[in-house]
Structures are given as structure tokens and as C-alpha cells.
Amino acid sequence: MSSKDKIVTAVKNNQPEFRELPPLPGSGTPASAGQPAGHSPASPEQLASSPEQLANKFISILEAIGGVAYIVSGFDRIASIVHEQHPDARRIVSGCPELAALAETATRYEDPHSLENIDLAVLRAHFGVAENGACWITEDLMIERALPFITQHLALVIRKKDIVAHMHEAYERIAGLESTGTSYGFATFIAGPSKTADIEQSLVLGAHGPRSMTVFLLDEEMSDAGFY
């Protein structure tokens, strides 16, 4: 008998009697297909979340976890902020063709190890999550899977209106992205810079990954004057 058969048989013999999946909170989606929509209570917070409030919450949480946010009108503004923030950057890589003047915009690297000396990566992400300051990014936006981790500094660009309230909505959004586009082989939520508190609980930013993490919130309706 193979180990697989042994394990599966033992599990089958010992597992308790069937228990239904509960409905998921925070969304009308039932936990499994075919059930009527769940009547889980939405929190007051969820009911009163305008796009503006979501963006504000996202920014305040991101700042609390060591990230930085800028609301910007377009890529020109992103370019000038990048310039100000990283005057000494030798190697910048970007997945945004709009930044071709200041960054490498290759779409593929043969060997991820060649990314070792990158100072800054500026990448598009799909959306942000207000409750935890995380951004969802799939591998098609990363150029290389290693890039968002190996770079010394990371900046992500999302549209300001693409911020969901919480993780339940985030997974609804992810399911939507999958149904319209191709499915990801790798994807991640990134919330702030790489960090550790393993030495006496002292928070240190820049453990193995980026030492800083910036999110640019694109607001196309915004004029160039009087922001940030």
C-alpha cells in the first residue's frame, strides 16, 4: 500500500461526520455554490465606505505599517517623486512604459539573479485593501517573480478607485480578474516594506526584501495643482 493510500484511507476512516461550510462574512456570496445567499451582517464600517473613505483608510493603515502613499494625477508626477526620493538610484526597473525615460522597461529577464543590484522597482498592481494596506499583484505585472522582493525599494501603482474594503471583497475581485484574464501562476499581497522584529521585538524595516514601500494612487480626475 502506498503512503498516499495509507494516509487517505486512515483519514477517511477517522474523519468526523459531515459538517456544512458556513456562509462567508462581509459579502453576499454563499460559501459554496448552489446555496442561497448568506445573510451575514455587514459591519457598520462596511456600509459607510465611500471610495474616498476607503482611500483614506488605506493610506492611514499603510503608513502605520511603515509604507508611504502618494495620491498623484499621472505618471509625470510619479517620475518626479521617484526622482526626489531616490536621487542616487543607479538601476530602476519598471513595468510601466510611461516611465521608460528613467527606468529599464524590459518585459523579461533570462535569469532572476541578474536583478540582484536593483535599487528601485516601480510596478503596477491590481488593487489595494483598505483594512490592511495590502496591494494585490500577479506575476504578469512583476516582470520576474523575484523582482518585488529582491529590489532595495519597491513602489506600486494602483488607481485610487481600485481599493476594496476588506479581504472578502479582495477575493471577489481576484475571482473577477481570473474570469476575464489569464489565471496567475504566482501572485501576492504586499503590505508595506519587508520587516522583522525578531531581535527583542524591535521593529526593523528592510529584513530581506525592500527597505521601503511606496504606493502611488492614481487619480485621473485630479489636476496637477495642490496635492500631496
Binding site: 503512503s3 487517505v8 459531515f18 458556513p22 472578502h168 475571482a175 501562476g185 525578531d198
Partner: protein
């Protein structure tokens, strides 16, 4: 590491010799518990989330064999190679065989309590394989030659000066430098070289999704990703209970996990691995190692719902004051004390007694495991199986005799009061375990029985 023969009480006594350090350990963990509370209170539907997480895991346990098969099918379709390991030995051999197959004798590893449980590092060392733990806390304890003392904060028992000394010896940092910022930077440079040169990376798994065949790894440091995306071969090892049915269930668990663990709203990275990158190999090892047996124990199976957040450690008055090493098992704390006896009831017979049964662990558990009730139930099972600690057994037998004989009971009470009042040194000495870290109380002049007889009239 040497085989330990001391029980929790003896190991805790060792830890307790340095009282200021115990106070420091206690306060640090309580501070994390308070951060957890703040994070939980910021989510109005927190209790609903706990109920839901518990319900999803109950469903997982009730259909685990189907989810396992579904996961294998989906993961295989995604191009991941799935392996099954009945026990720790088979798990270690599978990992070793993969390393041999790729002619590799060095690898990087991110945090995996399962590999601690299986003693993978020791096994591979014997086979001449060098394993570098890349989580900062794990690297610290690895260099110190110790196991982690906490599943989320592996070197929580170490002072920064000690870490400075370890880094001075092994990484060549200046002697006496104990600045966390400086030491973390030194580790960053040291481990970056490892990430860039190792061809095989092993990671743990926080959640595996049956529906899609993907798995999720959560870290703050980014070490799992640094290892996996730079390596030619990614091996992910998981206990069979880590499955969840569908991807959107991650929404529930990712909201709970880090808030419960450290009070953060989410880990910096929650990485979803579904397919190997072009040219890469991805392996998953599904490990049983006693879990299928545990699943059959009606009173104890719900401990398999655990998502390893360690909230029960941080809140536990015994853990905070006895340290993780006193539990002599890979997963310490209250949850470890109900998981370990399943693996070896005799070896871990002491652990369910390492609790005050205050119930705080059950109250903070994000998947609502009735931890303190299981601790209590394990005590019954252990005593009935004849595995109770000898002193405890003798004390209980004496107690039974005293309590079932009214004459003996009254005489014993009187004698006790007389001894405590007239010759207190006979009880205030180190032979009496109750005297450790405590003063004995003033004895009353008479027993309640005597007082009642006198005052009844």
C-alpha cells in the same frame, strides 16, 4: 540536539532561576497579546470571523480525504509534483532524495514548524547537507544550536546582547554591538548571499487550497519568496490539515492570522504559489505524521484546526513564565501541549499538566479550539493510561485515601495546622513544591468543621 529527559516542571525551574529574565519574557509576550487585542477590537465582526473560521475548519476535517485528493489533482494539473509522507522519516527521505536528484548539498529554508516536528535539519546534516534557516529569528537559534522557543517569534527568549554575541562569533560583527538595526542589516547581507547561491529552497505552507491546487505562504521578512523565486527547485512541506476548501476562504483566515499572531493587520507578504515559474520545479510534500490518528480522537481532533498563530502562547501565564524550551517539543505552548501527546503520550505526559486551565488560550484562539478543555481531558487519558508523573500519582493516591477516610482527614488537617503554626520550617523548605516562589499562608486556628460546630448553636 541531545535527547531531553527532563519534564516541563524541571525545565521551567531552570528557566525560572533568572527572575529578571522571566519578568522580561513575561512582559514582552503580554505586550504582544495586548497588540493582538487592539487589532481584534478594530474589526467589529471579529467574533463572526472566528465562528466562520472554526466552521470552515470543521468542514475541512469532515471531508479531509476528499480535499486531499482534490488538492493533489489540481496541484498536479498546475505542474506541481505532489508527494505523500506517512511519517517524519518518509518526509525527510523525500526531501533528501530531491536534493540528491539535483546533486545539491546546500539549501535555504524558510520557517516551517513541520520540518521542526520532523527534525529535518538534523537528518539532513547527518546526510552531509547544509541547511540555512533564513527567517532572522530561526537563523539566530540555528547559529546558537537551539530549537525555536516560539512558533512565530523563534528567538523571543534571547536578549539582543546574546544575539550580538552570536553574530560576532558566526558573522563577524563587532563584539559588543547589540543594536537590532545593525544586526538585522548584518543578517540581511549574510543571507542575501545564501539566497543568491542556493539552487533549492524549502518553505512551509500556511494554507493550501483544494479547489485551485495553490498554496499560500505568509512572511514579514520576504525570506520565503527570496528563496523560492531564486531557486531552481522549490519544495513546500505541509501537514495534511493545512487544507482549506476554496480560495475565497483565505479572506477569513488572512484577516485572523496575523492580527492574532502579532497584532498586525496582515503579514507583509501573503504569497500564492500555483504554478512553478518556467524552468523551475515545484514540489509539495503532504505529511501525515500522526495527524490521521489524531483525527480519530473525538475529544482532541479539533486541535487540527490550528493555524499556528501562537496567540495561545502569548496569553498563557505558564508559557510566558516558563519559556518555550520547557515544553521540549517543536510546537510549545497550550496548543503544543494538546498536539504532542498524540505523537507520544508517554514522552509528553507532562505537558497537559503545564497549565492553570484558566481558559485564556481558548478565548484568544482564532479558530475556537477548546484548548483548555482538551488539556483537562488529556490529563484524564494520561492518568488512566498509567502515564502520570510518579510524584503526582503518589500524591493522588494519598489524597484518595485521606479524602475517603473522615477520621484520617480530620487528623491530617489538625496535624497540618499544628506543623505550620509550631514548626513552619517543616513545610517552608525546598522539599515542598508549593513553597517554591511562594510563602505558605498563616494557618487558621481551627478547621471549618470545628468552627461550624462551635458557632452552629
Amino acid at each position: 540536539m541531545k535527547e531531553n529527559t527532563k519534564d516541563h516542571a524541571a525545565l521551567a525551574a531552570q528557566f525560572n532561576q533568572d527572575e529578571p529574565r522571566v519578568d522580561w519574557h513575561d512582559k514582552t509576550l503580554w505586550w504582544i497579546r495586548e497588540k493582538r487585542d487592539k487589532a481584534a477590537h478594530n474589526v467589529p465582526e471579529w467574533e463572526l470571523l472566528r465562528d466562520t473560521a472554526s466552521g470552515i475548519k470543521e468542514n475541512v476535517l469532515s471531508r479531509l480525504h476528499e480535499y486531499l485528493l482534490q488538492f493533489e489533482e489540481q496541484a498536479t494539473r498546475n505542474g506541481i509534483k505532489v508527494h505523500w509522507a506517512a511519517d517524519a522519516k518518509e518526509h525527510n527521505e523525500i526531501v533528501h532524495a530531491l536534493l540528491l536528484q539535483h546533486k545539491v548539498d546546500k539549501m535555504v529554508k524558510s520557517k516551517s514548524m513541520l520540518t521542526e516536528e520532523c527534525h529535518l535539519n538534523e537528518y539532513l546534516k547527518e546526510q552531509g547537507i547544509e541547511v540555512v534557516d533564513t527567517d532572522l529569528g530561526e537563523r539566530v537559534v540555528q547559529l546558537a544550536g537551539e530549537p525555536p522557543s516560539h512558533i512565530v517569534l523563534p528567538c523571543i527568549h534571547k536578549k539582543k546582547e546574546e544575539i550580538g554575541e552570536i553574530f560576532h562569533q558566526h558573522l563577524g560583527t563587532p563584539a559588543g554591538n547589540a543594536d537590532p538595526q545593525f544586526l538585522t542589516h548584518a543578517a540581511r547581507l549574510h543571507l542575501r548571499e545564501k539566497f543568491l547561491t542556493r539552487r533549492v529552497a524549502l518553505t512551509g505552507v500556511n494554507f493550501a487550497v483544494a479547489e485551485t491546487g495553490e498554496f499560500v505562504v505568509c512572511t514579514n521578512e520576504g525570506n520565503a519568496d527570496m528563496g523560492a523565486h531564486l531557486a531552481d527547485v522549490h519544495i513546500a512541506c505541509m501537514g495534511i490539515e493545512k487544507l482549506i476548501p476554496q480560495r475565497h476562504h483565505l479572506g477569513v483566515f488572512l484577516r485572523l492570522l496575523t492580527r492574532s499572531a502579532t497584532g498586525q493587520p496582515i503579514t507583509t507578504y501573503s504569497s500564492h504559489f500555483k504554478r512553478p515559474r518556467p524552468g523551475q520545479e515545484m514540489h509539495i510534500v503532504l505529511v501525515d505524521n500522526g495527524r490521521s490518528v489524531h483525527l480519530g480522537r473525538k475529544d482532541f481532533r479539533s486541535s487540527l484546526k490550528c493555524i499556528r498563530c501562537a496567540a495561545c502562547f502569548n496569553t498563557c501565564p505558564v508559557y510566558r513564565r516558563s519559556g518555550g524550551h520547557s515544553y521540549h517539543t517543536a510546537v510549545a505552548g497550550p496548543i503544543g501541549s494538546i498536539l504532542a501527546p498524540n505523537l507520544d503520550m508517554k514522552k509528553y505526559a507532562d505537558l497537559p499538566f503545564a497549565s492553570t486551565l484558566c481558559g485564556s488560550c481558548s478565548n484568544v484562539c482564532p479558530v475556537k479550539i477548546d484548548i483548555h478543555e482538551q488539556l483537562y481531558k488529556w490529563r484524564q487519558v494520561i492518568v488512566q493510561a498509567g502515564n502520570a508523573p510518579i510524584a503526582k500519582k503518589a500524591a493522588m493516591q494519598t489524597m484518595t485515601w485521606v479524602l475517603s477516610n473522615p477520621g484520617v482527614y480530620h487528623t491530617a488537617g489538625k496535624a497540618g495546622r499544628w506543623f505550620m503554626a509550631n514548626v513552619p520550617f517543616t513545610v517552608n523548605n525546598s522539599l515542598n513544591p508549593w513553597y517554591k516562589q511562594r510563602d505558605m499562608p498563616e494557618p487558621p486556628a481551627n478547621s471549618f468543621g470545628e468552627w461550624y460546630k462551635k458557632n452552629k448553636k
